[in-house]
Symmetry: C2
């Protein structure tokens, strides 16, 4: 950098760093119009909360050195992973987290189960006119903290404001970029009969926590969302068991839906042992009261992995040691029934686990 | 690929390609619940409209070979560009385009003006319950066609459904990944006193087209949005004038806002020649009636570039030849007034062009 560039860059830093907090109490349409108020919202809320060098570049695109991005991967065989998700959960804050953690962890997890090391995340807000600025700040702080916890950089973002009644508080869309190091290769095509299925933790906590938080049930139970980033878990699994076949986080539609996708795509059967699938007592009780099968309830920090039979115990140990002490084996890949999911009960019986139909739990993520 | 993998991959293709069109006429909450209806919406609308090999991978992340992504760039000095934008334009269809083109072109353009060649795009929909499926299909087709026109691959996406009244028809968030080849280096820090400012076409068409389309003005004029991808224009400019200093598309807040950002960030002055800035007659008339300065009106396919004085004519020729026949020089970078934008009138007068305050044109993009 020559002297001229240094001077200009100092100036950029100065311009982007209007000190102080946003004075407004509520979001107005002006905050989304692209003028002074938009700049103030950016500087005094978003940059104030999660400013970093990439955001300080000042353009609409983050520009990243590829060698830096690929530092730990061998560029020769490395692949890029790219994903996106929108979050419309209602309510936006619930026991265990908020839409902010959800938006970061969900995208981090989509990259992780693709075998990628998550690197960059974009965060785009759609705000409803009248939203409390204090709420927005809490959500932005949740975004920042979740990104830090997962080790991803908030690289770029956007903010739009829609009139009162054209959104429900706020929606977030995140996109993520990750790098799959050379040699990692997971996918439906690797799954074989006899493989074992690992589940990283108890299921159904997220969906039930959100249902409870809505307060429109004649029921109150202290259930917290499982929202968390799983990238450290998947990385540990891939290190311990490099020939891990396939991984997927069990979000919308729950374990049943993800397992059906696996069965559909491979043409093989997925056989779960009913008693092996962990559900916390409180969560199971809430599901029972509502007549909902926990297998269909969304999780936001729990994943399934298919691993070779001979490495199954090593897989469980690795995931447990990396921070999921309740990880366990819950089933196996079978030849028959083809392209189907079955739950094998303790008495030797079996029932089919069909795809989710209808919409028992709307706006859970 | 071995035989087993081929068999499974054939199966994936079969599963993802449920033939036929979506039978529903309207979107329901079930389409967003992650179950059968969600899969049907994906297969029979989104994959039907813009299915491609990356989407056929079937996971939540697109996985891309880096050598393929970097084919034209020298990996050594190449950089990655990453951007996102949400689109909430009202109405979602207007003369010259729809929210679909806007969402693709806007993200393609953010990458382009960063000096990147746009490669991948993600497309995430938030749908309002009750939305007509026919409308969604038209928008998805606009997304597909705009992506094809710009030469970017739709790599991944998501769909959420919110209850009636929690959105306004539909919102789209796109994110984009591009590659900046080795040697390209633009940014605020390159801008120097004496540089010339290029504008790629007439301004204010997009904002006024959307205002007209709302139909709540006592005014009707045939104005079409300028929405277009500018990546072929910026690539031609960078090839003809490799030491192009800086580029930016003049979206929300218009040319005035972008110029103020340039002035703020560099500490230098931006001097426009009033008569040089092209505004179509119809658009100027509409602005006059509404009392809106076209300099503040959003554009969706028009960009500013700062180029060295000696290459200014070559820059204009290159952009014109690449498909923007109305490109022209509209001003220069000056020492004084520092960190400000001025409009020099034909009579030798000058007026300051301040930042946009308030919100004259909400939900224009």
């Amino acid at each position: 950098m020559n002297q001229d560039e240094e001077r200009v860059n100092d100036n950029i830093a100065r311009v982007r760093r209007h000190p102080g907090r946003l004075k407004d109490d509520h979001i107005t349409l002006s905050h989304g119009a692209g003028g002074k108020q938009s700049t103030t919202l950016l500087d005094r809320l978003f940059f104030d909360v999660y400013g970093n060098e990439l955001l300080d570049q000042g353009g609409d695109s983050a520009v990243v050195d590829l060698p830096g991005l690929l530092a730990d991967a061998q560029a020769e065989g490395a692949k890029l992973a790219f994903t996106t998700d929108s979050y419309v959960v209602n309510p936006i804050e619930f026991p265990g987290g908020s839409i902010g953690e959800l938006a970061v962890n969900g995208t981090v997890n989509d990259l992780s189960v693709a075998g990628a090391d998550p690197k960059l995340i974009s965060v785009s807000f759609i705000l409803e006119e009248g939203l409390e600025v204090a709420t927005l700040r809490r959500v932005a702080e949740a975004v920042r903290d979740a990104a830090a916890e997962a080790g991803v950089t908030i690289a770029t973002g956007d903010t739009k404001v829609v009139p009162r009644g054209a959104a429900d508080h706020l929606y977030i869309t995140t996109a993520g970029v990750g790098v799959i190091p050379a040699g990692r290769d997971t996918g439906f095509g690797k799954v074989q009969v006899g493989d074992r299925i690992l589940l990283s933790g108890p299921i159904a906590d997220h969906g039930m926590a959100v249902m409870m938080a809505r307060g429109d049930l004649a029921l109150d139970a202290p259930i917290a969302s499982d929202t968390r980033a799983v990238n450290k878990l998947t990385a540990a699994l891939l290190e311990a068991v490099p020939d891990t076949r396939w991984m997927r986080d069990a979000t919308r539609g729950g374990v049943a839906t993800v397992a059906n996708e696996l069965a559909d795509a491979t043409g093989l059967g997925v056989a779960f042992e009913d008693e092996a699938i962990p559900v916390r007592d409180m969560t199971r009780a809430a599901c029972d009261v509502l007549g909902i099968d926990p297998l269909y309830v969304a999780n936001e920090g729990t994943f399934l992995a298919v691993v070779p039979k001979d490495s199954a115990d090593a897989a469980v140990e690795a995931v447990r040691a990396a921070g999921a002490p309740e990880a366990r084996l819950v089933g196996r890949i079978v030849e028959e029934p083809a392209a189907s999911v079955v739950l094998v009960t303790g008495f030797g019986g079996a029932r089919m686990v069909d795809k989710l139909a209808g919409d028992p739990l709307p706006r859970i993520c």
